[in-house]
C-alpha cells in the first residue's frame, strides 16, 4: 500500500481521459480519413478510458485515509508565475471525484446513439471529464480557476453542436452567463493572492484561520466568489441559463451538467466561501437563506407548470440546490453534511432522471409531457426505474434523496427556524410536480397511437441504469457509509467557519 501511495494518483485520474482523447486523435491520423468502423472503435475506446478512470479513482480512494485530517495524495510542483501545480483531496473532493468518474462511463453509454461527428463528441467529453476532475483536485487557486473555467469550452461546443432546436442560443447563454460570474471571481482571486501572498488553497485556509482577511475586504471577496458560484449552482435569480442549457443539451451533457457542473458551485462555497471568508459568510447568511427558500418554493411551482420533461427536471434541480445552500450556509456540521449529501444524491438522481428522459426521447424524439402517457403498459421495467428515481427526487425515505434534505433542514433549523418552515413546504411541492410528471408520462392508458410500438429498455440501457439504482438505494438505506466518510471534511469546514465568526 505504501508503494501505491507514492504514485501521483490524482494526476493519473485527472489526465487519463485526456490521454484517451489524444489516442483517438492519433487513431484518426493513422486511419487517414473516415474508415468504416472508426466511429464504433472511438465509442469503445472512450468507454474503456472512462471505465479505467473510474477504476483508477477507486485506487486513489483506497489510498485515501478518511480518518487522517487535512489534504491527502498531495502533489506540488512549482509552476510559472509563482503558481503551483498543486493537487490534493480531502473527503469532500474525493466523493465528488468518485461521483464524476462513476457517472462519466454511464454518460458515454447513454451517448451510444450519437451519429454526428462521433470522434469530436467523444474527445470533447473526455476533455470535459479531465477538467471536472481537475476542479475537485486543484489545491492552487489559479489552477482551480483554470479547470473551473476551462470546463465551459467543451460544454459550449457539446450543447451547440449536438443539442436541440435552440442549441446555439442556449450555448451562448450558458457560456456568457457563467463567464460573467467567473470573471469577477478572477479579480477576487488576484486580490486574495496579493493580500495573502500565496495561491495555495490549504495555505489560504490557514491564513484565513490564523490571520484572517479584513472583514470589510471579505465582504467584497465573498460577493465576487458568490457571483461565480451562485450562477454555477445555480441560485435564484441567476438560474435562468440552466433550463435553456438543460433542454437543448444532448442527454449525456444534461446529465453531466446537472450531476457534476452544478456541484462545482456548492463545492466552491464549501471550499472557499465558508472557511476563507467566515465573517462575510455569516453576514450574508440571511440573504442566502432567503434566496434558497425562494428557489425551493418558486422553482417547485414553476416546475409544476412545465410542458417539457427536461425543463421540469431542470427547475427541480434549482429547487434541490436551494436545500444545498440552505444546509451549507447554516455552518453547522449537520447542515454541511446535509449539503454534501444532497449534492451527491442529486448528482445520481437528477442524472438518472435525465437518462430516463433520454430513453424515451431516443425512441420518440420529443420531450413533450403531453405526448406521452401510459408507458407502463408497453415499458414496465422503464416505468419501475422511472418510479424509483421520481421517488428519490421527492426525497422519499429509503432513497438517497431523503438524508440530505433532512440533514440540511436540521442544520438550518439551528440557525433560523422560520426559513426552515418555509423551505419544508418545498418538500411537499416537489412531491406535487414529480408525481404529476410520473402520472402523466407513465400511468393510465396509452392514448397516443404513436406510442403503440415503443419498446422497453434494451441491454445497454439496463447496464446504464443498474449502477444508478444500486447507488440510490445504498445511499438511501445506509447513509452512514457516506456520512462517516465525509465527516472529517465537513467538521473542518464547520470549525473554520465557527472560528472565524466568533473570534
Amino acid at each position: 500500500m505504501s508503494d501505491l501511495m507514492h504514485l501521483p494518483w490524482l494526476t493519473i485520474v485527472t489526465f487519463l481521459p485526456t490521454a484517451g482523447a489524444l489516442l483517438i486523435l492519433l487513431a484518426r491520423v493513422l486511419a487517414r480519413g473516415v474508415e468504416p468502423g472508426y466511429d464504433a472503435a472511438v465509442r469503445v475506446l472512450t468507454l474503456i478510458f472512462t471505465i479505467a478512470t473510474f477504476l483508477v479513482s477507486l485506487v486513489a480512494f483506497a489510498a485515501f485515509d478518511s480518518n487522517a485530517p487535512g489534504f491527502q495524495l498531495v502533489e506540488n510542483v512549482a509552476w510559472a508565475f509563482g503558481f503551483g501545480y498543486h493537487l490534493g483531496v480531502d473527503s469532500l473532493s474525493m466523493t465528488l471525484i468518485l461521483l464524476t468518474t462513476f457517472l462519466t462511463p454511464l454518460c458515454i453509454l447513454a451517448s451510444w446513439s450519437i451519429q454526428k461527428q462521433v470522434a469530436s463528441y467523444m474527445i470533447l467529453f473526455l476533455i470535459l471529464e479531465t477538467l471536472m476532475i481537475g476542479v475537485f483536485c486543484a489545491m492552487d487557486l489559479v489552477l482551480f480557476y483554470l479547470f473551473f473555467e476551462g470546463g465551459l469550452i467543451p460544454m459550449f461546443i457539446l450543447i451547440g453542436v449536438w443539442g436541440g432546436q435552440r442549441r446555439v442560443y442556449a450555448a451562448f447563454k450558458f457560456f456568457l452567463y457563467t463567464l460573467l460570474g467567473s470573471i469577477l471571481m478572477l479579480v477576487a482571486i488576484v486580490a486574495m493572492i496579493n493580500i495573502a501572498h500565496t495561491s495555495s488553497i490549504p495555505d489560504l485556509i490557514a491564513y484565513a484561520q490564523h490571520v484572517g482577511f479584513d472583514p470589510n475586504v471579505q465582504i467584497w471577496l465573498w460577493l465576487a466568489f458568490f457571483a461565480s458560484f451562485a450562477v454555477k449552482l445555480p441560485m435564484w435569480p441567476v438560474h435562468t441559463w440552466l433550463p435553456d442549457a438543460h433542454v437543448e443539451a444532448p442527454t449525456a451533457a444534461s446529465v453531466v451538467l446537472a450531476a457534476i457542473l452544478l456541484k462545482m458551485g456548492g463545492y466552491g462555497f464549501l471550499r472557499f466561501s465558508l472557511p476563507m471568508f467566515p465573517s462575510a459568510s455569516h453576514f450574508f447568511t440571511p440573504m442566502v437563506f432567503a434566496l434558497s427558500v425562494i428557489a425551493i418554493i418558486w422553482a417547485s411551482l414553476v416546475a409544476f407548470r412545465q410542458a417539457d420533461m427536461k425543463k421540469l427536471i431542470a427547475y427541480s434541480s434549482v429547487a434541490h440546490m436551494g436545500f444545498v445552500t440552505l444546509g451549507i450556509f447554516s455552518g453547522t456540521l449537520q447542515g454541511i453534511q446535509g449539503g454534501i449529501y444532497q449534492m451527491l444524491s442529486h448528482g445520481i438522481i437528477s442524472g438518472a432522471l435525465f437518462l430516463c428522459v433520454g430513453v424515451v426521447y431516443d425512441r420518440m424524439h420529443t420531450r413533450e409531457i403531453a405526448f406521452y402517457g401510459g408507458l407502463v403498459n408497453r415499458m414496465p421495467v422503464y416505468a419501475a426505474v422511472f418510479m424509483l428515481f421520481t421517488m428519490g427526487n421527492v426525497g422519499l425515505p429509503g432513497t438517497s434523496g431523503f438524508p440530505g434534505e433532512i440533514l440540511s433542514l436540521v442544520g438550518a433549523f439551528q440557525v433560523n427556524a422560520w426559513f426552515v418552515v418555509a423551505a419544508t413546504t418545498g418538500v411537499i411541492f416537489s412531491a406535487v410536480y414529480a408525481l404529476t410528471l410520473y402520472r402523466k408520462v407513465a400511468l393510465g392508458n396509452i392514448e397516443n397511437p404513436k406510442l403503440g410500438g415503443i419498446l422497453d429498455l434494451d441491454g445497454r440501457e439496463w447496464v446504464t441504469f443498474v449502477p444508478l439504482i444500486v447507488a440510490t438505494l445504498i445511499m438511501g438505506l445506509a447513509p452512514s457509509i457516506v456520512l462517516h466518510f465525509t465527516e472529517g471534511a465537513a467538521q473542518s469546514i464547520a470549525t473554520a467557519y465557527a472560528g472565524g465568526v466568533t473570534p
Partner: protein, 484 residues
C-alpha cells in the same frame, strides 16, 4: 564625450541587428531592381532568415547593463532585446505567410520583403530610442514603410483607400508627436530621455510639460491603435492584403507598446501621477470599445482590428500601473498575444472557398465538419485570444490583472473583466459559425507553410509549455528591472 567618429565606431558593435537589417535592405533593393520580381521568393526567404538572424544576434549581444549608443540617441538594454526578439520573430512569421500567399495570388513584387525589413528597422530604432529625435525617426521609418504596404494592391480601390487613409491620419499623429516633443524640449531644454528625467526631477515643467506629454501620448496611442485614436485601424486592416494586415497586427504593436513604456517609465517617471490618468482612461476605453464595436462586425479582418484594439487596452492596463510589475506584465501579455493573432491570420489566409479568400464570419460555416483539425486549431486560438483558461491568453490577462490590483487599480481590472466577457461574445460568434452552422461550400486545402504556422501558434497557446512561459516571464521581469 567621445569624438563623433570614435563614438560611432564604439557604438556599432552594440547595434549589430540594426546594421544587419539596414545593410540587407539596401542590398536587397539593388539586387531586386537588377533581378526583377522573379527574385521574389529568393529575397523573401533571405529576408526571413535575416530577421531571425537579427533576433538571434540581439540575444547574442545582450548587454548586462544599458549601453548608450550614438551619443546617447539610442540605448542597448534588456528591454530592447526583449522587444527586438518579439518583433523579429513575429515579422519573420508574417513575412513567410505573405511570401507564401503572394506566390499564390501572383503578386510577387520584390519590394514586399524590403519594405517589411525597413519597417522592422524602424521598430528596432523605436524600441531602443533614447532621445526625442530617434523616437521620431524610428516612428516615421516604420510608418512610411507601413503606408506603402497598406496600399500594396494599388489597383484595388480598398487597398489604395487603406494606404491613403493610413497616411493622412498617421501624418496628423506624427505632427502631434513633433508638436508635443517641442513642448517637452522647450520646457526642459533637453531631448535626451535621461536629461528630461533629471530636469523633471528638479521640478521643471508645469502645465507646458503636461501639454507636451499628452500630445505625445495621443500620437503614441494612435500608433498603438488605442481608442479614441483607433479610427484608422478597421479600415486599414480590411483594405490591406491579409498577409500585410497580419504584419500590422503583430510587430508594430510591440514596437509602439515598448516605446510607450520607454517614454512613460523613463523620462516621465517623475510625473507618473499625471500620465497615469491618461493611460488608465485609454486602457478602459480601448478595452470596452474594442469589445463592443466588434460585436457588430461581419468581416473577419475588421473584427480582428477591433480585437487588437481591445487587446491593446489590456496592454495599456499593464502600462498604466506605474509599478515595475506593470510594464513587465504588459510585455508578457504582448508575448502571449502575438502567437494567437498571427495564428488566426494564418488561418484566415489558409481558407479559400473556390479560389476566393474567406472574408466574413459566415464563410467559416461548417468548418468543423469539413476540416475538424483546422476547426480545433481555430478553437484553441480563439479561446486563447479571448483569455479563456486553460489557454495562454488567460495567463496574460491574469498577469495584467494582478499588476493592476497590485497598483490599486481594482476597478480597472473589473472593467477589463467585463470587457473580456463582452469580447468573448464575438469570439463565440466565430466559433458558432465554425462548429454549429452547416457547411455551405467546400474549402480548398491550405498550403503547408500556412498550416504549420497556425498549428505552431495553437500549440503555443497551451500554458502547459511551462518552460517556455516561465522563461518568458522571468525574461520580462529581467528586461524591465535592468532597463529603468
Amino acid at each position: 564625450m567621445m569624438a563623433p567618429m570614435q563614438d560611432l565606431l564604439a557604438s556599432l558593435p552594440h547595434a549589430h541587428p540594426e546594421v544587419l537589417l539596414a545593410g540587407f535592405a539596401l542590398v536587397a533593393l539593388i539586387v531586386g531592381a537588377w533581378g526583377g520580381d522573379k527574385l521574389f521568393g529568393f529575397i523573401s526567404t533571405l529576408a526571413v532568415l535575416v530577421l531571425l538572424g537579427a533576433g538571434a544576434w540581439a540575444i547574442y549581444d545582450r548587454p548586462l547593463a544599458p549601453v548608450e549608443l550614438f551619443q546617447g540617441a539610442m540605448v542597448a538594454d534588456s528591454l530592447g532585446v526583449f522587444a527586438k526578439v518579439l518583433i523579429a520573430v513575429s515579422a519573420a512569421a508574417t513575412l513567410a505567410l505573405g511570401a507564401d500567399d503572394f506566390s499564390k495570388t501572383k503578386e510577387q513584387r520584390f519590394e514586399f520583403p524590403v519594405l517589411v525589413i525597413l519597417a522592422v528597422l524602424g521598430m528596432f530604432v523605436m524600441v531602443s530610442a533614447r532621445d526625442l529625435i530617434s523616437l521620431y525617426v524610428g516612428v516615421e521609418l516604420q510608418s512610411l514603410a507601413a503606408y506603402v504596404l497598406a496600399a500594396w494592391r494599388r489597383d484595388d480601390a480598398r487597398s489604395s483607400e487603406a494606404g491613403l487613409k493610413y497616411f493622412v491620419l498617421s501624418a496628423i499623429s506624427s505632427g502631434l508627436l513633433l508638436f508635443g516633443s517641442s513642448f517637452v524640449y522647450g520646457f526642459t531644454g533637453a531631448i535626451r530621455f535621461d536629461a528630461i528625467a533629471a530636469a523633471l526631477h528638479e521640478g521643471a515643467g508645469g502645465v507646458g510639460i503636461i501639454f507636451g506629454l499628452v500630445l505625445m501620448l495621443c500620437a503614441l496611442g494612435f500608433k498603438m491603435s488605442a481608442t479614441p485614436f483607433h479610427m484608422w485601424t478597421p479600415d486599414v486592416y480590411e483594405g490591406a492584403p491579409t498577409p500585410i494586415t497580419a504584419f500590422f497586427a503583430a510587430a508594430p504593436k510591440v514596437a509602439a507598446a515598448v516605446l510607450l513604456a520607454r517614454v512613460l517609465y523613463g523620462p516621465f517617471a517623475a510625473i507618473a501621477a499625471q500620465w497615469q490618468q491618461v493611460i488608465v482612461a485609454l486602457a478602459a476605453i480601448s478595452m470596452m470599445w474594442g469589445s463592443i464595436a466588434a460585436l457588430l462586425q461581419t468581416n473577419l479582418k475588421r473584427l480582428m482590428a477591433y480585437s487588437s484594439i481591445s487587446n491593446m487596452g489590456f496592454v495599456l492596463m499593464g502600462l498604466a500601473c506605474a509599478t515595475p510589475e506593470g510594464p513587465s506584465s504588459a510585455l508578457l501579455y504582448l508575448a502571449l498575444y502575438l502567437p494567437s493573432t498571427i495564428g488566426i491570420f494564418a488561418l484566415i489566409l489558409a481558407m479559400r472557398r473556390e479560389g476566393v479568400a474567406v472574408e466574413t464570419v459566415a464563410d467559416l460555416a461548417g468548418l468543423a465538419q469539413q476540416r475538424p483539425w483546422m476547426a480545433a486549431v481555430w478553437t484553441m486560438l480563439l479561446f486563447s485570444i479571448a483569455g479563456i483558461p486553460p489557454f495562454a491568453g488567460f495567463i496574460g490577462k491574469l498577469v495584467v490583472f494582478r499588476a493592476a490590483v497590485d497598483a490599486n487599480l481594482v476597478w480597472l481590472a473589473v472593467v477589463g473583466g467585463i470587457a473580456a466577457v463582452i469580447a468573448a461574445g464575438y469570439y463565440l460568434r466565430l466559433l458558432a459559425s465554425i462548429w454549429f452552422a452547416p457547411a455551405t461550400q467546400t474549402l480548398q486545402p491550405a498550403s503547408g507553410a500556412i498550416f504549420v504556422t497556425a498549428s505552431v501558434a495553437a500549440l503555443l497557446s497551451f500554458p502547459v509549455l511551462v518552460i517556455i512561459l516561465g522563461s518568458i516571464e522571468q525574461w520580462a521581469h529581467w528586461a524591465i528591472a535592468r532597463s529603468f
